[in-house]
């Protein structure tokens, strides 16, 4: 079968910037961060105070008692985003299509809060038993399984866990399955809810969390801000989507991966550059056709110059005019869900002709000498865009998107 074009017919999102795509885009397009004081756990036990939480979230607003009991916060977010994406796609699931649809989600941590609570029960509260639903809540594939059951989808389903690249790897796998004809449609993206006390303390020990806020590419940047949420997309073979008159949000045209073989936490510009080059090659794109990159842009001392070097290596002089921004400056670093949030942001940027800024930017860093769209969004109609994810452990995944004219 010849390769098929793969389009995005549904988008869904929940994170600190909003509970749906419209709210998410409103914040992104105004450059308004969703970062604030941590409320989910006792922040006085932490050396940092801020995160990008889904503020005021209440499970009972979305799920009944029976469903809530089996869903960790990360799976709840994933299902909320899936509901929005599937509704937006307008797909009606015939028995045949259910068999020919795949589900690929990404999560680095799985049911982190459930695990934290279960272990606190044992070690701290001296309970003798664990919550019997702990395992099905904790497992990282919980979201894929819940989506499968919710819609009766019986095609291939799996979850990818590659730290901060999880969602990009997941979306890439779903894209390849649709392109190659393994499936006709896919539900893909990622979710994460990593703001448990145990996990926050572990991040604190890494000494990479900012004391104030996330300032990617800014000289005074001092670390990440952890976030949470989910982003989900419905992918379909273009001809099938067109045949049913679907609204098309954008197109995925390429996917590239690489491994650094370098260090368990330190990034490598060579590895990142290889993933970018692989995505361009897969899409058949010349570097100068790319107008925007949604950067990995964590705001750590080491990521941002390393990513800058990788972009310069691949794009050469075009890097001087290429627009690059890190939306982590607004939705925080949602770890395994980051790629999914950023994929949704990139699709909307191409569709709306407006590039979200790098918020919280103070002053340039000569080592990050890119056009990072500081603080104010920019009107720009780009044809192609990339979204970068580079994980701890040196596993890199880059997706190439194209604007789609309906």
């Amino acid at each position: 079968m010849p390769r098929r074009r793969v389009v995005i017919t549904g988008l869904g999102v929940i994170c600190s910037l909003g509970r749906n795509v419209q709210e998410f885009w409103n914040s992104l397009s105004q450059g308004t961060p969703g970062i604030g004081l941590i409320e989910l756990v006792d922040r006085t036990r932490l050396r940092f105070s801020n995160a990008a939480e889904v503020r005021g979230y209440r499970t009972e607003d979305y799920f009944g008692d029976s469903k809530a009991g089996i869903l960790d916060r990360f799976a709840q977010f994933g299902l909320i985003a899936t509901t929005e994406a599937v509704q937006a796609s307008g797909i009606s699931w015939s028995a045949e299509l259910k068999e020919c649809t795949g589900i690929v989600t990404g999560s680095a941590m799985g049911g982190q809060s459930t695990e934290d609570e279960a272990f606190a029960d044992l070690y701290m509260r001296q309970k003798t038993r664990c919550n019997p639903l702990a395992i099905p809540r904790i497992m990282t594939n919980a979201l894929t399984s819940q989506i499968s059951m919710a819609y009766g989808i019986t095609g291939p389903g799996f979850t990818v866990s590659t730290a901060c690249s999880s969602s990009n790897h997941a979306i890439g796998q779903a894209f390849q399955m649709v392109r190659e004809g393994t499936v006709d449609a896919a539900i893909t993206g990622g979710s994460e809810a990593p703001l448990s006390l145990g996990n926050l303390k572990a991040w604190e020990a890494m000494r990479v969390v900012s004391q104030d806020t996330c300032r990617p590419f800014s000289k005074s940047r001092n670390g990440i801000i952890l976030g949470e949420g989910a982003g989900i997309m419905v992918l379909e073979a273009m001809e099938l989507a067109k045949a049913r008159g679907a609204r098309i949000f954008g197109e995925i045209v390429g996917f590239g991966m690489s491994s650094d073989a370098h260090h368990i936490t330190q990034p490598s510009s060579e590895g990142a550059a290889r993933a970018i080059a692989a995505a361009l090659k897969d899409a058949g794109l010349q570097p100068e056709t790319v107008g925007y990159i949604n950067a990995h842009g964590t705001g750590t001392l080491t990521n941002d110059p390393t990513e800058t070097a990788a972009i310069r290596r691949i794009f050469g002089v075009h890097a001087d005019t290429l627009a690059v921004s890190s939306t982590k400056s607004m939705h925080g670093h949602a770890l395994g869900a980051s790629g999914a949030l950023e994929a949704v942001a990139t699709v909307l940027s191409l569709r709306n002709g407006l590039l979200p800024p790098t918020a919280n930017f103070i002053e340039p860093d000569p080592e990050c000498n890119l056009d990072v769209i500081p603080n104010k969004p920019r009107l720009a109609q780009c044809e192609y865009a990339l979204s970068n994810s580079f994980a701890f452990g040196g596993l890199n995944a880059v997706i190439a998107f194209r604007r789609f004219e309906n």
Binding site: R207, N222, I264, T302
Partner: protein, 91 residues
Amino acid sequence: MSELVATKVIAAIAKAKKIAPETITLDSKFEELNIDSLDGLNLFFELEEQFDLSIPDERVRTMRTIGQVVEEIDRLLAERGAQGYEPQVEI
């Protein structure tokens, strides 16, 4: 600079990197001792445990030599002493 603190810091590095304490001086730089970012995290974690104190991230980021580590621990111990704090560990 406290000799006791210096001895403890050097001993911790010697143990972690499996090298003789005599090869480490206050002027030794992290990279000369092959202390990478993860080694550094572990070292500061160990020293915080030993001295029962908390070394701020922004201080850690600016340190390049063993002497700077000793100075920082001295500073934190003095600060704690000024607050009338009784050390939990013997230094």
